[in-house]
Symmetry: C2
Subunit: 267 residues, 2 copies
């Protein structure tokens, strides 16, 4: 009997050229489809929720596929993870991809079209010193950031707006550039970097951005603009003007891909 | 005028086949010698303190070289780091290698032979769930660890002993397998893993192991043995017997390279 299975997937984007399958490049979709097709002995096609770019990570990517296999759905995550870690060859290595869960959904459910929204997390390391071990996982900003200014500016763009100023060219063409941002929550965690002699005080910042949909590079341009406001390069009160301009060149820089995590998909 | 320059170096070992230069493999020594030779326009040979294995990291590797260049020594770290990050080509990317400092030493100083000891840090993630983002930086142990047993066992091997049971084959031949461990400090940091639904409690453990010298894979075998004691696979009071046996097969498993950091070199 045919089943529609929804996977929740984590991956380290630094090892892939993004989610979407491409010939001759390592992609998460291409890798997982191959593993699933080998396991289930039939061609498996995954529909993912979000086409994350090269270097972008996921804590909660969603992808569905249909199959008539009879591995119990609740066993599937473990079975796939064992293959990803090389258990079946007697090896054990942590994999850059992990299945967090597998659940059954109605046959007409679609991971992307039925999504009601998503949450992204953008991670910034705000410290004088770079941390080489975080270079693929956080955006390093050396200049001190004015967190109050960033929080106020973030408040201006929560809600329903035309986000054309925050859309990069090169994405899938869209009918409208109006989107609703449910919330931008800016969290910070201050710590002392012990291995640095001069007592550098570091700060890890996370932007939690949730909304009903996102334009191409939208979270990275929002983040870059908020960082530019935090360093004073863009005046705080320009945020409204940037929105109203509907012009990409008015917004700030595009923050790099490696700080971005697809955190959650809402249904 | 000839100078003897001592570098303190950090690197992410996951991108290299270890410190020591090898033909056709990416090594830290090979990479840095090329960068220095290009910069200084003469052949530079680095003497490193420790030949870290593939996957092993460094927070404080030391390496010295002689040169007659006249770049002020206090500017050297910045100049090299700019090259490593691609600044000179107008690019900017964090590099897996970073020069922490450059200092002048007497001409007869040797980074390895003059070393009085070293400190290694071994990082363990003790949690039910694996964290894919830490797979190159921490050893994941799923079984609960008895920290008190590990601390007591560690106490038995502090001091001067014949560590033959903790030496892997394949290293440089040594005159004696007697070494002095100054201290093993076991630190833990307990946290809640927020992105896991069932409220998994995680624990990051660091073993700080300092001594006058280390045999091949010694810290990784000590760590593996302490983990085996922590999980109960090896009884706590066997630690003394393991030391006395002077036989590698009596000790525990070898912990993987990616949890190990060369932290400090003492002179």
């Amino acid at each position: 009997m045919e089943k529609n299975i929804l996977l929740t997937i984590e991956y380290d984007g630094s090892e892939f050229s993004g989610w979407q399958k491409q010939p001759d490049r390592p992609t998460v979709q291409g890798y997982l489809e191959k593993v699933l097709s080998d396991l289930l002995k039939r061609e498996i096609a995954l529909s993912g929720t979000s086409r994350t770019d090269a270097g972008v990570h996921a804590r909660g990517q969603k992808a569905s596929f249909r199959t008539d296999i009879n591995i119990p759905t609740e066993r599937l995550a473990l079975v796939i993870n064992n293959i990803l870690c090389g258990h079946e060859k007697g090896a054990f290595a942590l994999s850059p991809v992990k299945i967090v869960s597998a659940e059954e959904r109605p046959l007409d459910f679609h991971a992307r079209f039925d999504s009601k929204g998503k949450k992204y997390i953008y991670r910034i390391r705000n410290s004088k010193e770079t941390d080489i071990f975080m270079r693929n996982y956080m955006y390093h900003v050396a200049a001190p950031l004015d967190m109050d200014a960033m929080k106020t500016a973030a408040g201006y763009i929560v809600g329903t707006h035309d986000f054309k100023s925050f859309e990069a060219s090169g994405g899938t063409p869209r009918e409208t550039t109006v989107r609703t941002i449910f919330d931008i929550d800016i969290k910070e965690n201050i710590y002392r970097i012990d291995n640095v002699n001069d007592g550098d005080i570091g700060r890890d910042i996370e932007l939690h951005v949730s909304g009903d949909g996102f334009l191409y590079n939208m979270v990275r341009i929002i983040t870059g603009t908020l960082v530019d406001i935090g360093t004073g390069r863009i005046p705080l009160y320009d945020m409204k003007k940037i929105l109203e301009a509907k012009n990409r060149s008015k917004a700030g820089h595009t923050a790099p891909p490696y700080g971005l995590y697809l955190a959650e998909v809402y249904y």
